[in-house]
């Protein structure tokens, strides 16, 4: 392991140690702030309780990402190909980011119910902006000289998109996707906080109300691990797809 990885690990362990010590020394009630040892116990022993909820949240996030990609990629592409479309859609794009997502959540629950749909849509909405904007930026970042060169070869728009603009934009796309993957988690959880019957966000509210706060932290731990796993996976995908870097 590299030196920087050792240092990160040390910092994490130090924080955990201080936390554990402080909880014991100050006799902090476990339903205000549980000690790391409690959290670890809960994470392991309550795993069978947490797992089905984790699966539901994971499903919401993954479906949300796919839904967002399905919409964002074509829109960004059309916006790039037709500047008039870009001008027309730009304000909406910015608005989609400015609107606080938790204001949207209750509305989605009313319209779509307590099931998966509202959470999937929440996750999709929250990552729509980073993906679209990054992809569009990637397209635009292509050096003019290459575009001219393609024109000289007599390439039509479709060939230019496929052979030039899309590969050029891929690094930008993936950086947007990496951001999106971690933020999608937030969307799904907020959706669950507002109205759900399953999922890690739902579990967190219930556990908190029942004073099982170490379960809340265990749920957060699972969420973090899920987010991290997805980040790593996207990174792996990125290296595979952008094979020339």
């Amino acid at each position: 392991m590299e030196r920087s990885n050792w240092i990160s690990l040390l910092i994490v362990l130090a924080v955990i140690a201080v936390w554990e010590f402080a909880c014991r020394w100050f006799s902090v009630p476990d339903f205000i702030l549980p000690a790391p040892s409690e959290i670890l116990k809960t994470t392991v022993f309550k795993a069978s309780l947490i797992l089905p909820h984790a699966c539901v949240t994971a499903l919401e996030i993954i479906m949300g990402i796919f839904l967002s990609l399905l919409v964002a990629v074509p829109i960004a592409t059309v916006m790039f190909a037709c500047p008039s479309v870009e001008r027309a859609l730009s304000p909406f794009l910015v608005a989609s980011q400015a609107v606080p997502v938790f204001a949207l959540a209750p509305l989605l629950v009313i319209w779509l119910g307590y099931g998966l749909a509202s959470k999937v849509l929440m996750a999709a909405v929250i990552i729509f902006f980073p993906i679209t904007v990054n992809l569009l930026e990637g397209y635009k970042n292509c050096d003019r000289e290459y575009a001219v060169f393609f024109d000289l070869m007599g390439a039509g728009l479709w060939k230019k998109m496929r052979l030039l603009y899309w590969p050029w934009a891929l690094p930008y796309f993936f950086s947007g996707l990496k951001v999106g993957v971690t933020v999608a988690t937030i969307g799904a959880v907020i959706g669950e906080w507002v109205g759900a019957q399953k999922g890690l966000g739902y579990l967190m509210i219930q556990a908190n109300a029942r004073l099982q706060v170490s379960l809340v932290f265990a749920a957060i731990l699972w969420l973090s691990i899920m987010g991290l796993t997805m980040w790593v996976f996207v990174g792996f995908l990125e290296r595979k797809v952008i094979y020339w870097k």
Partner: protein, 247 residues
């Protein structure tokens, strides 16, 4: 042949050229040489259609055209190789885009790779090979264009002297072999003298052809030719004079 008549281009209050005329003999190697910023790159931009012209006509093989987009091969100082394609895929790009016969072209490309000593590197990615090899690959790509007319915009100026020399020779060889009509811009007077059938010296803006040299000595075999040395001196004087004038 390529003929440009009465070409005019103005940017705001700057007249780049006005009433510019140029004729390129079919099958010949014509070079344009001039001081920096005289407008020769703008001429190429107009010829290729990147910039619109304010007046004048372009005609290729007797036919009036708006520009040469899709009618000429083009090679620049930058190799413009795509990093996500191997050398051979890059070289075949004009074929892929024109949608032409793949198999025949593949053979041609491979033999060209061999001629330019790129054999064995076909599947390498551009980032992994030297600048000289990339420019050679770009040269192959230029030759894979089906077009007879080839526009070269300082194609060798980013290379070191040795690589330059070897590619100059190859360019000549390939021109005669593939019957291309070449119009080249360069800064390097010696290069121009070694390779051209016709050398046109340009003035600073507004750009005109100041002087025209027809070079009939056989090529290769021109280095050290005393007549060429005289022409070189002459051209240098002209260019320096213009330089003084513009400062």
């Amino acid at each position: 042949m390529l003929s440009v008549s009465d070409l005019t281009k103005k940017f705001e209050d700057l007249t780049v050229m006005e009433g510019f005329d140029l004729t390129v003999r079919r099958g010949g190697f014509t070079t344009l040489i001039g001081p920096s910023g005289c407008g020769k790159s703008t001429l190429f931009d107009i010829l290729t259609g990147v910039f619109p012209r304010d007046g004048g006509m372009i005609s290729w093989l007797g036919e009036n055209v708006s520009d040469l987009m899709g009618r000429a091969a083009y090679m620049q100082q930058k190799d413009l190789l795509l990093p996500w394609f191997s050398l051979i895929d890059n070289a075949m790009l004009p074929v892929k885009i024109a949608g032409a016969d793949k198999n025949g072209s593949l053979e041609k490309t491979i033999s060209l790779f061999e001629r330019l000593r790129l054999n064995g590197f076909e599947d390498y990615m551009p980032q992994k090979v030297s600048g000289g090899m990339r420019q050679r690959c770009a040269l192959v790509r230029t030759l894979m264009f089906e077009h007879e007319l080839v526009l070269l915009d300082e194609p060798l100026s980013s290379l070191d002297a040795i690589t330059r020399r070897s590619l100059q020779g190859l360019l000549l060889l390939l021109q005669s072999e593939f019957n291309k009509t070449i119009l080249m811009i360069t800064h390097d007077i010696e290069e121009a003298l070694l390779m051209s059938d016709e050398l046109l010296v340009l003035t600073p803006m507004p750009m005109r052809i100041k002087e025209r040299f027809v070079l009939e000595m056989p090529k290769p075999g021109r280095s050290g030719n005393p007549e060429l040395l005289k022409i070189k001196e002459h051209v240098l004087e002209e260019l320096e004079g213009d330089l003084d004038g513009t400062i």
